[in-house]
Symmetry: C2
Subunit: 441 residues, 2 copies
């Protein structure tokens, strides 16, 4: 089985590449920008995620024998293009927002520079990864804010395609979740994994008591027992009878949670199990979590809503040519002009303007002229938002793997502190801060 | 890189397996059922998809050294469980609805039989695949019905995680789409691929005319030119001037499509390009497609909405223990009793009852007693809906790969004809036919 990621690509990219090789424009130095015109769902901020995964997938973006054979057998491109693709290695640069960073409409999230041919073929892969992972991270961050200090676990693998589930677990972790049920996410990204038992465990046994006793024998009294297979009140009573008042926790996966949580807490306290934790896991989203803020809940498990972006399963990021050299070698900014999908041409440098540590503006300086923008960490326009991920084809390993994931999470929790208070509300509204474009030319 | 799919699994499945090995219940013959309590979004029918992919992933569901090392190093399970997993091969049976088949609330879509240990560990993988692929197929079928005879292409790879995109292309194809932009879907599943050029192609050149001329030189006059980078009217004029009246097609990716399509058709006809096709691709879903039924549109390209299930990115399928042997070896049906998530215990045989070729009822015969239900193609209760995918661990290859995908598509287009007319409406409603459970014991 091939590990190449090169065919995770829309056919038109290779068709354009073939035509560009033929008319001589394939080698034109070009700048593509990945950005979003809006925040989906009236969200007040977006969270960038996926960059670390993209860099690893880029290492495998190679057209090997299998890929070339498919392209040849299906007449996707001509012989010259096959030769070009056979030798394809991305030799350009990729700069952009760190994973975990916030973004707003027009933020230059990723900038890919190279020849037209080099950069155009990465469109689908870059968008697939960033759109999915950022949609999950954005929803997850809202849930994490709503949960406050209470721990959140991601448990939605069954409601996402099998590989997306792994990526979603990672994005949720970056955005503040503490753990995942997905074992592959644990292996691949170093995310803590969790989970104890399903309803089938209870149903496998002759009685609930037998099931609880066996689970305690196997996992110890610190485990969490699922108490809602039959009757919750009876389940809680049985759980404490079997485990004693030192039982780690109970999980509730059905019912009207604010009411049920209060009843279960009272029952546990009456039984003397005052330290037994209550985990709730039934159809939670950021609104349900917020509604439970005053309820005696100790931890949340979130499934469907986080892996599907809580109503917005994809970000609306696009990948557009924004600058290129003309035949004389001069840089020019370019942009699509259709009125409903206008974009800003030109290279961009982005800064988050802060006043007393609170973000006030997304400042984007636009210039067709500069080859490389100077973006120091300190800048009169605010905190510089772009970093270099790939330089002359060389990928910076710091952003990949478990280490990259952990540092993205730390970065997110840090920069989220810069948001103004109004950004933390869950209701639909405008972006928390405006994006201001400044023409530097 | 490992190709094992075994860790695409929630941790609690292995935790339960470990506890079951310890208390002796691991070997209990068990029946798990994958079904949906409801149709998401007031849909009138669901479309099963993913089964062929699942069977292929099941072949790779092996705990190899890498997987075992992760489980050991992270104390997920004990040593006895590691030994069990090291030798794990699914040796049970899997029966269920064919891919492309319709389903309704309570339809026994997939039935997995084996020891508890054998079957419980497949929960996450089975649900991940079926929930995602069926959500896409269900939305895609509605779009395909709305499009009528006009061809539909799937172009949403950029709005789905990179591997989901391939699965989504496949699910859309099964549900009636004609082609995909995704090259990997072409390679892996034999789906026709399509695509010509993006806005970046026009912006790469000094003028739109230059871009069109180059594309025609490379791809011939039968290509499709994207005419909305600057001004659509000027774009169409340029397209026909460059290509002649034999131009294959123009693509419109912005604007108010019913108005723009009519204007472009009139302009093309005035220019004499009466056979030049119009493809539209801007934010289409089933409702937009239906609204264009009277417009002079020749083909649709659908992106975001199809790969995200048009508002419902996951089906609500669950995987539940419904029957098991008790310690004496007698079969008993089991079911969770919580009032808001009740389910039907027992093994099930399903039939679509037809009157004059039109579906009237989803008939589900329930029995704890029978070991294997007799489900001939002809049956007094209607068309038998279940087939055998895996018998004693042996996977039937007929459902996998490009052949399985093509036959699933044919099956879908055939059984969709059985739907009553009211099932074809797009508005939210009840399931098109009721599900009736009959107790055979």
């Amino acid at each position: 089985m091939t590990t190449s990621t090169a065919l995770l690509t829309d056919r038109y990219e290779l068709t354009m590449l073939a035509a560009a090789l033929r008319d001589g424009t394939a080698s034109r130095p070009s700048v593509f920008e990945l950005f979003s015109r809006r925040l989906s769902g009236g969200r007040r901020f977006g969270v960038v995620a996926g960059t670390g995964r993209l860099l690893t997938l880029l290492r495998e973006f190679r057209f090997e024998d299998d890929e070339l054979r498919f392209l040849r057998d299906n007449d996707v491109v001509d012989a010259d293009s096959l030769t070009y693709l056979e030798n394809y290695r991305f030799t350009g640069s990729i700069r952009g927002y760190r994973e975990g960073e916030l973004y707003f409409p027009g933020s230059p999230i990723l900038t890919v520079e190279g020849s037209f041919a080099d950069a155009v073929v990465l469109e689908t892969l870059a968008l697939s990864v960033l759109n999915h992972d950022s949609a999950v991270a954005t929803a997850a961050s809202r849930m994490s804010i709503a949960a406050g200090e209470r721990p959140l676990a991601e448990m939605g693998s069954r409601r996402a395609a099998e590989q997306s589930a792994v990526a979603a677990a990672r994005a949720a972790y970056i955005a503040g979740f503490r753990a995942t049920s997905n074992l592959e996410a644990g292996r691949r990204w170093g995310i803590p994994t969790m989970g104890t038992a399903a309803h089938s465990w209870t149903l496998l046994h002759e009685t609930e008591e037998e099931a609880f006793r066996s689970q305690i024998d196997s996992l110890g009294t610190d485990t969490t027992l699922l108490v809602d297979t039959y009757d919750i009140r009876a389940g809680v009573e049985t759980a404490i009878r079997v485990a004693g008042t030192g039982l780690g926790g109970v999980r509730i996966d059905s019912g009207d949670l604010p009411i049920v949580a209060a009843e279960v807490r009272a029952q546990l306290d009456d039984l003397g199990a005052t330290d037994t934790r209550i985990t709730v896991t039934s159809d939670l989203d950021e609104y349900a979590i917020a509604a439970l803020a005053a309820s005696p809940v100790d931890a949340y498990g979130v499934g469907t809503s986080v892996v599907t972006g809580s109503g917005y399963p994809t970000a609306s990021m696009v990948y557009k040519l924004v600058a290129r050299q003309d035949p004389t070698g001069a840089w020019i900014g370019v942009a699509k002009a259709s009125t409903d999908k206008a974009s800003h041409g030109g290279r961009k440098a982005a800064f988050r303007t802060l006043v007393d540590g609170v973000a006030t503006t997304e400042t984007v300086v636009v210039s067709d002229g500069f080859e490389h923008l100077d973006t120091p960490a300190e800048h009169p326009d605010g905190r510089a938002l772009q970093t270099t991920f790939v330089e002359a084809g060389e990928i910076d390993t710091a952003y990949e793997g478990p280490e990259g994931t952990a540092s993205a999470r730390a970065h997110h929790l840090r920069v989220r502190e810069e948001l103004p208070v109004r950004a933390l509300a869950l209701s639909k509204s405008d972006p928390a801060i405006p994006t201001v474009f400044i023409d530097a030319d």
